[in-house]
């Protein structure tokens, strides 16, 4: 099995990482090297082995369904690019901004 360039393009699209068409052959080769190497796991019969989900046997804790934090939109927006901040004089704002999504 070998990674073709269409597969690289598809993974890159799924991962939302632009890989320019001219870079795809090199990336295909790099990923293939790693995939070939991990193939060795196929030597092991794991048909009767449960997949591991946690190394520590813990019961997931539950807490009371209460609001414990929040209510500071300007703090949330402090590191955002071009945010619309909550103005002290009007109740508008408090948004992240992104390129136009709906035409």
């Amino acid at each position: 099995m070998s990674l073709d360039q269409a597969t690289v393009a598809r993974i890159a699209q799924l991962a939302r990482i632009r890989v320019a068409p001219e870079d795809r052959p090199k990336m295909a080769k790099e990923l293939q090297t790693i995939l070939d190497w991990v193939e060795q796991l196929k030597e092991l019969d794991t048909s009767k082995v449960e997949p591991m989900t946690s190394t520590v046997e813990v019961v997931m804790p539950q807490r009371a369904d209460e609001v414990t934090d929040g209510g500071y939109p300007n703090k949330i927006l402090a590191n955002a690019t071009d945010p619309v901040r909550v103005s002290s004089t009007e109740e508008l704002g408090g948004f992240f901004t992104v390129p136009k999504v709906v035409e």
Partner: protein, 487 residues
Amino acid sequence: MADLVDMTIAQLRDGLKAGRFSAIELAKAYIAAIEKNRGLNAFVVETPDMALTQAAVSDQRLQKGEGRPLEGIPLGIKDLFCTRGVQTTAGSHILEGFKPPYESTVSQNLFDAGATMLGKLNMDEFAMGSANITSHFGPVKNPWKRKDGKDLVPGGSSGGSAAAVAAHIVAAATGTDTGGSIRQPASFTGIVGIKPTYGRCSRWGIVAFASSLDQAGPMARDVRDAAILLKAMAGHDPKDSTSVPAPVPNYEAAMTGNVKGLKFGIPKEYRVDGMPAEIEKLWQQGIDWLKAAGAEPVEISLPHTKYALPTYYIIAPAEASSNLARYDGVRYGLRVPGKSLDEMYENTRAEGFGAEVRRRILIGTYVLSAGYYDAYYLKAQRVRTLIFNDFREAWKKCDVVLTPTAPSAAFGIGEKEDDPIGMYLNDVFTVPVNLAGLPGMSVPAGLSGEGLPLGLQLIGKPFDEETLFRVGGVLETAANFTARPGA
């Protein structure tokens, strides 16, 4: 009086308490040492003002006799820990300029114990690397030099932490370890590093790489300092549901120096092909030291050891591809414009992530994608169970396991760079410990033929860090490792 920056935390603690010097004097000594060693590139951000402000508070408390366990001790914090109001980048361009509005639990615990912060330490981007060459902020230099004088890597991913501790420009540092990122750099720089049991330290506020493997731990000059630090760092945190609600023992008290009757396992599968003779020799030396102290070596078998690295390189990238999905240019960090929302995501992530991080995200995306999930990810999860069971069998025969930490001493900056799998092999002895969720410690034990430090690794039972500190203390005394870089 010895130079302040050459004293251990235990010595500083006593000196501060007795009033032989002040926390401000100590902070100033370290700030000067950092300025003299900027060539190491160990820091991403220096915070001298913060260190001095915190030291002033420490001096007030010390004068009133209200000193806390780490009062006035100047630390470096790996740049993977979110620190309130101080840039936190995880070594990545995509987080450049990000100033968290909150503090990670582990760093908060250290500050609550009285520690001061000298700055944020350089690291491999998103903790992905074994040489500290993938940082957006440039490689870190190891303060140790080979005979040819070439600049060496400090190991990774906690390379800035390791270099800073070894160069005495911080009293100690925090690190994180997903596949060896505390222990391998500790070995490369001649310091002590411990990765605690998964669940011992809270992961809250630590930039996530592979959540089922990541653990924070201390990197320090000696075993006692690591014990003092881990006591302060560890503990249950309701904000991390995988942190364990168990009391944290007094690790310093565990260092009794007595290992009589203790059984230590020697895994035959760790005698890997092509292991350098000097690593083999050091390992035998470690066995002899523990035997001389009254402990008994037992041969054990960890039959699935050779499958640990390929298992790790499926599980860790899979978890990373999911964790790193949050860096999309919308809420924080870098944004590279695009004509559509998707194009903005794709441009931001292509420019913001370095080559190794992109490669791992793509591998992770592939092994989790429809049609490949069972063949790769689920298969790796099953092999992980086998590796976990290997250790569970071993504990029937021994109390602790002794191995080398890394298959070599530090290598040159630029070496192994074009060979990802060759680089991954650095972690051959450390990765199984993360997959099994166990505690592991690296103790400096000797020098290579090139005069570079080499470490021995101790692996413990789940939540039995105390045995690691006890045995680590005995190894340390026997090894009497006093060499310093550049000496």
